[in-house]
Symmetry: C2
Subunit: 346 residues, 2 copies
């Protein structure tokens, strides 16, 4: 079965639609196969519902962009299917993260463990990880492509899990951190490599083995990825919950050591520090406390510093792209993705 | 690096040692790599400790046996490494199962979630699943071997998770089951395919594509696998906790619908049924109740029926092996594995 080709040289919406078609068809097949074998179809159905509820498909889009950046041409089928595998892996990661973070909502709906149970959600996440393998292994890759892609996919997966492990190791221990360093390391593994650099490199590996292109994609990917997480930190505190789809202050409730919070703690005076600690130590801050925290994050300069860090990374990305030897339309795509990842409000 | 070859045509202990060497070396590399990159080394160390604590390595041994059954000769490296991947997948499955079953001990030690936390154990299990991929993809398989093995590995993984999902769907609802059917389906997916048939077929796929051998391995694998689970059910109630390494009556505490329990419920009279329900509904039966349950399981004939079901499956396995065209020494190995899996006391 051929997947629908993007209508133009790089049409992000067409990539999203093609990826969603692959995912929908795959899960429908899994659901029927489960029914045929007297196995519970709820697991595959839960994944369908989770994917239907939303998501920006940023990793699949970047995977296909990486493929084209490295010179990929012709039928996009294998790239689209590899991209779909990344989205399935992302479902796994989110479902388990939501358990770990005790999140109630995701994409404006109850989380999978809220709809089922924690135990079912562990298994549904596990199944998504196996499904991600099935999608990648069944993507129609040549032996050479498979050989190039599997180590990258495995590294991306391990790094993502390590990043999350780092995250929970540091959660609730903000006072042990001397500054924003550890939070930035978490952002590098949990987000930059996972969300931006990894998908770009995975797509590029489908095509060739060009060190210069890989270096460009890594430089852009890490800068955009870090900026993406820094923006996320800001949105988690200052964003509109109606837009972001998750409750404001969720990160604070989980005691997460964001760069924003680490900077604020580093610069806070006594009373400011007490405000931050009070809310970090209290797992259920009342909304009345939210404004106090926002004030401290602003007054300590942390908010401004994080905005500056984002600007630096956007600038370095644009400079890298300007001097790189990529196809013009791919430079445009990466530039627009960088800007939207960094300037987004949701 | 070459792994140590089994000393004789099929030396189970040598296979176990070779697999453990691969696992130890792999995890040592992972631990060092994590340290080098400022990532937490605890995850890989926890997996090392888990593997060191015990385990019979039945899946790796069967994988190598399947490889030889299908005509595998020459260096066993790829088969040993594929076998090690199965053991790593098994670690993943046990770590998540122990969370789901709220088990306190495994292999005579505290479970991983007991040693760390539930959240860390979810991630350590996730990492083990990714490591299983890395071991399999890095096993030095040819493209043709990889092409044959990946779908089998993925099916084995999905079926295992589906089996566990079935298990928790039925847990705590024994009265809804009309007989031993659903419990047997769980045993087929959760154990027979996962523990016996899957590893045999995976090993066989490394070598060739012989339908007759596959049919033999499936027939033996499913029969031994079901018998293995039936023995497990008996050991869980009547076994010696010092030998089995897990508390007696654990299955009852979890409300699991074993074939043993389903048969007893089907045959029980009023007072017997009340004894069973009392303890199924009570998540912490006191040891004084254990003897009452054992008496009911015996008096209803359930224990005898399960022993008969085990005997039937042992007999069918031995008949299949007698009439199959396998190398003599492999028939001997499979026969001994079948007998030990079925007659074991731990």
């Amino acid at each position: 079965m051929s997947v629908q080709a993007p209508a133009t040289l790089f049409d992000q919406d067409a990539v999203r639609r093609a990826v969603d078609t692959v995912l929908t068809d795959f899960l429908a097949t899994q659901t029927h196969s489960a029914l045929d074998r007297s196995l519970p179809q709820q697991a595959a159905e839960a994944l369908s519902g989770f994917l239907r509820a939303g998501g920006k498909r940023i990793r699949p889009v970047l995977c296909v962009a990486g493929w084209q950046a490295a010179g990929g041409t012709g039928t996009p089928d294998p790239a689209i299917r590899a991209a779909a595998s990344l989205e399935m892996f992302h479902s796994f990661a989110l479902i388990h993260d939501d358990i770990i973070d005790a999140s109630d909502t995701r994409r404006g709906q109850p989380t999978v463990h809220g709809q089922t149970s924690t135990h079912a959600a562990i298994l549904i996440g596990d199944l998504a990880l196996v499904f991600a393998d099935q999608l990648l292994h069944g993507a129609g890759l040549t032996p050479a492509q498979l050989d190039a892609v599997l180590p990258i996919a495995n590294a991306l997966r391990a790094d993502t899990i390590y990043g999350q492990y780092l995250d929970i190791s540091h959660a609730g221990q903000p006072s042990a951190d001397p500054g924003p360093g550890p939070a930035l390391t978490i952002a590098q593994y949990n987000i930059a490599k996972y969300t931006i650099e990894g998908p770009l490199l995975l797509g590029a590996a489908l095509t060739g083995d060009d060190d210069a292109i890989r270096a460009t994609l890594t430089a852009c990917g890490m800068a955009v990825g870090e900026a993406f997480q820094l923006r996320d930190d800001l949105l988690g505190i200052f964003g509109n919950p109606t837009h972001t789809g998750k409750p404001s202050l969720d990160d604070l409730r989980e005691g997460k050591t964001t760069v924003l919070m680490a900077l604020a703690l580093q610069n806070a005076d006594g009373p400011q520090r007490r405000v931050l600690h009070h809310h970090v130590d209290n797992p259920h801050p009342i909304d009345a406390g939210a404004d106090q925290i926002r004030t401290v994050l602003t007054d300590t300069g942390a908010r401004t510093t994080v905005e500056e860090m984002i600007t630096e990374r956007r600038q370095s990305t644009l400079t890298t792209l300007d001097t790189a030897n990529l196809p013009t339309y791919i430079t445009a795509v990466l530039r627009s993705l960088a800007v939207s990842a960094i300037s987004r409000t949701t």
